[in-house]
């Protein structure tokens, strides 16, 4: 699999696609999110797996997003997600609230190719009350009177994330962040940015194979050094808390966000990062 440019990878995601993104602690491709902003993507339906962070707020602020399905949107220690909050208040996005294990479960059902999976809990929560696509049945293995929620399989059109490395076969290494594997398995296509290329086949190295996602699931790869910045990438680099706090301050207003965007989401800024 030949690496593409970041811009080519972003071109593969059509307007209106359902795009799954891992949160700030689990290898989001901030580089690819920025490329989607540069290509002026519109109407994306984002899925937070299981929550959403910096990349989601930035995409919402840039007008790329029609809908967010997630269990929470937050900038962590930097507080609430300002562009998400503003867009919800102004009715510019639809928010489908879920709860973390429900998102994992819907993706696991898709990964397994079954139409649904059960999950305990949830009954009595208004999340369930606002999800007509979720069903409650009586557990067929109990004596009766044991309600349990069934969640439908969810297959995003795309999984986007940032991995440490890719090999020539298109296998990518995400280490312990196996939610990326679940998203890749469940999605119709995974588009992955990586820090660097790896010589040799990741799946043939017994030390690296356990953290590898097979090329079977990977549709496209682009090199994007520091592609998770400002969030952390395993032991490769830490989170730039000051940068995120700066974003949170700037994005309090529409004007502040637009200025931030003009400064930070440009091809020049991308080159400076690399």
């Amino acid at each position: 699999m030949t690496p593409e440019t970041l811009e080519a990878l972003a071109q593969r995601v059509p307007d209106g696609a359902m795009v799954a993104l891992p949160p700030d602690n689990s290898l989001p491709s901030v580089a690819l999110a920025k490329a989607l902003i540069r290509r002026r993507a519109r109407g994306l339906r984002l899925l937070g797996v299981p929550v959403s962070g910096f990349a989601t707020d930035m995409l919402i602020g840039a007008g790329c997003v029609a809908e967010v399905q997630t269990s929470a949107v937050s900038l962590g220690e930097a507080g609430f997600a300002p562009r998400f909050t503003a867009a919800l208040r102004e009715g510019r996005i639809t928010v489908r609230d879920a709860t973390c294990p429900a998102i994992h479960t819907m993706l696991q059902a898709a990964e397994k190719g079954v139409p649904f999976m059960p999950l305990r809990g949830l009954i009595g929560s208004d999340i369930l009350a606002n999800r007509p696509d979720w069903r409650v049945i009586d557990n067929p293995f109990a004596e009766g009177g044991d309600p349990i929620v069934l969640l439908p399989a969810l297959s995003p059109d795309f999984a986007l994330f940032h991995a440490v490395m890719a090999d020539r076969e298109g296998n990518v290494w995400v280490g312990r962040r196996r939610e990326c594997a679940t998203i890749a398995h469940a999605a119709r296509a995974a588009l992955v940015t990586v820090e660097r290329l790896h010589e040799g086949n990741l799946l043939e190295d017994e030390r690296l194979a356990p953290g590898t996602i097979s090329a079977t699931y990977v549709s496209g790869i682009a090199l994007a050094p520091r592609g998770a910045r400002p969030v952390a990438l395993l032991d490769e680099y830490g989170m730039d808390s000051a940068f995120i706090a700066g974003y949170a301050r700037a994005a309090r207003t529409e004007e502040g966000f637009q200025e931030w965007l003009a400064r930070h989401v440009t091809p020049q800024a991308e080159e400076a990062l690399a």
Binding site: N25, G76, G124, L234, G238, D240
Partner: protein, 252 residues
């Protein structure tokens, strides 16, 4: 000087070690929860053999199945205690992390429910924790239920809230009565000030004790070994509460 956060950590540690409650062999602590994390480390550094799973610890994150593993462990009944907060918390221990006004938070939107709708029902014990103690947060009835304080008979549920700890007081929750009882007030507060700051009704003892200060050895642990464990995940919190020691990892 005792920081309010240190007192809260010590109060949480006492609740964790409550001998009347189900055992806490494995405690999970969610994202952006420095005070509960400090309480857990305080329990552990005090010599109690408890397993801690800290969700947002970058190095040494305990999970290798991704974040799904926390929920799987909890589904199995292997997590004994979890902490939850709430943009609103009501007198029946319902919590609202979604927002006020109509669903999904048309007045004031909070970040979202995270795993609460599952964790609250699948964990034998939950400690509710929210620093802000005001009629805005502690309401008669939450606008939206992220996770219910009680469940109808027949609905699978392993436990309920054990207590609610705020910046002003400690409440105990009685699931049989579906009602909180005030247990202690932090220094500077009294029965009347708590009543005024609380939007829901609750029981109150004739004589209201003060929430105790952390013992000197607890303060020493918090400011030494506990701080060291927390520095990577919560650098700003550590600097603010435990003082500005040099950061081990400038990037973190």
């Amino acid at each position: 000087m005792i920081h309010p956060e240190e007192r809260l950590a010590a109060a949480l540690a006492r609740l964790i070690l409550d001998p009347a409650a189900p055992p806490a062999r494995h405690i999970a602590v969610g994202a952006a929860s420095p005070i509960p994390a400090a309480a857990c480390w305080l329990v552990r550094k005090s010599g109690h053999p408890v397993r801690l799973s800290l969700l947002h610890k970058r190095s040494g994150n305990p999970f290798t199945e991704g974040t799904r593993e926390l929920f799987d462990l909890t589904g199995q009944g292997r997590i004994d205690l979890f902490f939850l907060g709430g943009g609103q918390i009501d007198g029946q221990a319902n919590i609202n992390l979604v927002g006020t006004g109509e669903w999904p938070g048309t007045e004031a939107r909070f970040p979202g429910s995270f795993g609460s709708a599952f964790m609250y029902m699948m964990t034998p014990r939950t400690i509710l924790f929210r620093e802000e103690h005001s009629p805005r947060v502690l309401v008669p009835r939450v606008d939206n239920i992220s996770a219910p304080g009680l469940s109808a008979p027949g609905v699978f549920r392993r436990g309920t809230a054990q207590a609610l700890v705020t910046g002003r007081a400690v409440f105990r929750f009685d699931p049989a009565r579906g009602r909180f009882a005030l247990e202690s007030a932090h220094p500077g507060e009294d029965a009347a000030s708590i009543r005024a700051a609380t939007g829901f009704d609750y029981d109150e003892p004739a004589h209201l004790p003060a929430t105790p200060d952390p013992a000197p050895e607890q303060l020493a642990l918090l400011r030494g070994p506990v701080r060291d464990e927390m520095l990577e995940t919560y650098p700003e919190f550590c600097a603010r509460v435990f003082g500005a020691a040099e950061k081990k990892d400038a990037a973190a």
